[in-house]
Amino acid sequence: MVASVLIVLLWWLIAHNAGSGWVQLLGDLVFGALLVGVLGPGLVVTRARIRLRSAPGDGVAGLPVSLRVDCSSRVRVRPVAPPGPDMFVGPRSRGGTLEELVVLVPTHRGVHASVTLDVASAAPFALQWWTRRVHLSLPSPLHVAPRCGGAQPPPRRPEDGTGDSVEQPRVEAGFPRGARPYVPGDARRLVHWRSTAHTGRLMVREVEQPAAESVTVTVELPTDPEAAEHVAEGALGSVVHLLQSGAPVLLCTREEAGPVVEPVTDRRSAGRRLARAVAGGVPEGGARA
């Protein structure tokens, strides 16, 4: 903008002192185009109406989340919180389609009740970009789960002389344990044909059942955001690993309202809990992540 003003002033100075009406007229035209090119985007950005059509409730840090929006005019959108790449939304031409996708790539876990976008335009001449910050309320909060880190082995119990301090390796739920005779109600997919041939009776596979004893995962997040993110990632990895092994998981976290100790049944619920988790201690109750 400063360059435009300087160009126009220099032009007018030369035109005025060169005594040429045509040069001055050309300068007027250039000034008009520059002014429209510099101020026009402000008008476009101010008048642009961007509305949220739909948004998912869950996301994962580092993975894209798509919002469906519509916009009254063609603008460039840059998601700020959560961040995301630049993209253009709005009709390409008059009467064109309005709905577009805005992609967010949240870098950290958290819960977002709204998204903040930088809406920019340089219409009509692409000479100057004007930006306006827009906050869009989400229909339901967006829970951004942490990335799924590596599973951490459960810590050993302290030596108490009973010999229980050494954890026996658990057999994963669903692994084959043996074969038994078929009873009505067994699924056909469990039929073990080799044993059936060997025994002459219809035999079915018998698999490990989920453990009845739940595993408590306590997540204490440090105050440092990066460290908290790292801890949450590890916790989610452990929870997911435990859930895959069939163990009931009781997740202990601290949220804004206080400590929460509730079971989690799947990865999504665990991710939501960890998304809501805040730094602070939780009551003793199980293995620490």
Binding site: H16, A18, S121, A126
Partner: protein, 680 residues
């Protein structure tokens, strides 16, 4: 950000520009600018066409290599641009012909840079530079353009630039197109801003020392040294004073000769004689006369035959009796049609840029060209324009104490003018200063005489002053100014006759005064001690302050609007409005019989105070109207069923039945029972 960072950031290669349309638009913009310069003769047309072809090839090459421009192209572009700049500065380091010696190399420089640069235009930023350079090229052309025809190139360039800018947005926004309405809005906004700035800004000034232009036109050399050649017989034929037999000379003026016969004026026509670029309007003086014989003016000391030989610029001697007092004023004269070989100027000429090695200068400041001033001649004069105020002139010394160099001829009269003297004394009886006396006489002439060119020539031997002042008091400028000069001389005030042109109409676009043949004029110069010869005009009210392009343009537009006959305009507007109303009515009219029925039903409901609710289906609405009308009424429901059968089932009754249904819907009224209320 440090300077190094800024430079590094500025030199970072931009994103490759993929838009072919944008490149085409930029190419068109540059082509128009090159053509504009070629049309003004700044570069040859063959050069221009070659540059356009190279530009097109360069643009195609740039587009093909936009992703990875070859390094050697950068080197060639840098070397080419640097070489062109070095050549330019070397060429203009010692300008000899004023601005022309700068503008022509500047045009070549810009064209060269644009051509070379076109081979390395990978990104949008580079294309923006191309647009800016095309604007510079147009400005160079505009600096020398003196005709409205240049406006065609300006309009074409503006359109191409607008195209390029909108394509730039299309490319920058990932394919977004500016709608026609937005484009029109942008165009209107740009034009409005440009017009507003144009109206507000003052007129350009000619204060720069580079604006000295001179060029010989198509006139030949004058055979007689110092002779005055007219336009009728070619450069070799000297001008003669007009005669009643030869009073019509289109484009010429009878006074641009050795004498001025005030008995006739002649038909001058409206030919554009010359255009003048000046800081302020002024009388363009051709020559002056100091000897009056009762019907003709002559100069007591004719133009000398010894020329003033100098190289341009000529430093002119101070005219006898004149005082170098006032403001410097530059004027450039563009001769548009052959005219007298007088070098016109504003008041007292000091320096002259002229396309010849010599000029003839008379003692009164009259400058005569050795060349015929044909079409295309250009010369520039630096004059001293008097800035004396009325108060200063009133306070100046007595005009009766002439210095030695003021010619006594300035108060010469061929005979006594007793009636003119008596009249002058009567008019100036209450005036004590020369200035007031001059003004009183001018006011008296304005109040008691009439200007007209349609009068017969005076008979031979008749005295112009007596015929005019004491006859019917109708005359033209030569007679009126002569009468003033004679009355002033009879009072002892030195005065002389000056002939030349009034400033002419000011063109706010070209910033030029357009002088036509019928702008030829005669007026009076009165000598004031300390201030020299001052112009006084008893005939024309010539504005002598710099005009404003805006006010001039508004005045011209207002005058054009006033010339528009009101009746056809009002009739056109009325017809247009009627057509618009009809078109709108037709667009709003229901297209099908079902829509007409539905609209009639809703209208009937509204009249009964039962409008259709927002979420109410048409069938529900009709049922509500039936319920309102009474248990036996089922007209509305039947109509609604027909409408829905047509709208959703495609079952249309035969046309007569359709018309009947429409008529029924229009005729039927909702019967609101007493006590049911009037509103919903």
């Amino acid at each position: 950000m440090s300077v190094i960072d800024f430079v590094r950031r500025a030199n970072q290669p931009g994103q490759p520009e993929d838009s072919v349309q944008l490149r085409r638009a930029c190419l068109a913009t540059v082509a128009v600018a090159i053509a504009a310069c070629a049309s003004l003769g700044e570069i040859a047309w063959t050069t221009a066409l070659g540059a356009m072809v190279l530009m097109a090839a360069g643009t195609a090459f740039s587009h093909a290599t936009r992703a990875r421009p070859p390094w050697w192209v950068k080197v060639i572009v840098a070397l080419g641009a640097t070489g062109a700049c070095v050549w330019f500065f070397h060429t203009v380091s010692s300008p000899t012909d004023g601005i022309t010696s700068v503008l022509n190399p500047l045009t070549i420089l810009l064209v060269t840079v644009l051509v070379v640069h076109s081979f390395h235009v990978p990104s949008r930023r580079d294309l923006l530079f191309t647009l800016g350079a095309s604007a510079g090229l147009m400005a160079v052309g505009g600096a020398l353009a003196i005709e409205l025809r240049f406006g065609l190139y300006v309009a074409a360039w503006a359109c191409c630039t607008l195209w390029a800018l909108t394509e730039m947005w299309t490319s920058a926004s990932g394919g977004g197109r500016i709608s026609a309405a937005s484009l029109v809005l942008a165009l209107v906004a740009t034009s409005t801003v440009a017009a507003a700035v144009f109206l507000v800004l003052p007129a350009p000034v000619v204060s720069s020392r580079v604006s000295f232009v001179s060029r010989a036109g198509n006139g030949g050399s004058i055979g007689v040294p110092g002779g005055l050649a007219g336009d009728s017989g070619g450069a070799a034929q000297l001008s003669r004073a007009g005669t009643p037999a030869g009073r019509t000379r289109v484009g010429g003026y009878l006074g641009f000769a050795g004498s001025l016969n005030t008995a006739l004026r002649g038909g001058l026509g409206n030919t554009l004689v010359m255009q003048v670029r000046a800081q302020r309007p002024s009388y363009w003086v051709g020559e002056t006369f100091d000897t009056w014989d009762g019907q003709s003016w002559t100069e007591s000391k004719p133009v000398p035959r010894r020329p003033l030989r100098q190289s341009s610029p000529f430093v002119l001697p101070i005219p006898v009796g004149d005082v170098p007092f006032g403001q410097s004023d530059l004027q450039t004269f563009y001769v548009e049609s052959p005219t007298a070989d007088l070098v016109f100027h504003a008041e007292s000429a000091g320096e002259l840029w002229f396309p010849a090695g010599k000029v003839y200068v008379a003692h009164d400041g009259t400058i005569v060209s050795p060349l015929g001033l044909g079409t295309g001649s250009i010369y520039t004069v630096d004059s001293q324009v008097s800035a004396a105020t009325p108060a200063q002139l009133r306070a100046s010394g007595s005009p009766f104490a002439f210095p030695a160099d003021v010619p006594q001829q300035a108060e010469q009269l061929p005979r006594a003018y007793p009636r003119a003297l008596a009249l002058a004394r009567a008019v100036t009886a209450h005036d004590t200063t020369t200035y007031d006396k001059v003004q009183s006489l001018i006011h008296w002439i304005g109040a008691h005489t009439h200007y007209s060119e349609n009068i017969p020539p005076l008979p031979a031997g008749a005295d112009t002053v007596d015929e005019f002042l004491f006859g019917n008091r109708v005359g033209f400028c030569e007679q009126i100014s002569t009468s003033l000069a004679v009355m002033l001389r009879s009072l002892g005030i030195p005065a002389r006759e000056a002939v030349g042109y009034v400033p002419g109409g000011y063109d706010p676009i070209t910033d030029l005064y357009q002088v036509h043949a019928d702008d030829a004029h005669a007026w009076v110069q009165v000598w004031f001690p300390g201030y020299g010869w001052q112009n006084f005009d008893p005939t024309a009210a010539v504005p002598l302050s710099p005009p404003s392009p805006g006010s001039t343009a508004l005045h011209d537009v207002g005058a054009a609007v006033r010339r528009i006959p009101p009746v056809p305009v009002v009739a056109s507007v009325a017809i247009g409005g009627l057509v618009a109303v009809l078109v709108r009515w037709r667009r709003r009219r229901p297209a099908t019989w079902a829509e007409r029925v539905a609209r009639a039903v809703e209208r009937a409901g509204r009249r009964a105070g039962r409008p259709r609710r927002p979420a109410e289906t048409f069938a529900e609405y009709a049922a509500r109207l039936d319920e309102l009308s009474g248990p036996a009424a089922s007209n509305w429901g039947r109509l609604a069923a027909s409408v829905e059968a047509s709208a959703y089932g495609g079952h249309d009754p035969p046309p007569p039945a359709q018309r009947a249904l429409v008529d029924e819907a229009r005729r039927t009224r909702v019967q609101v029972p007493v006590g049911a209320g009037t509103r919903d």
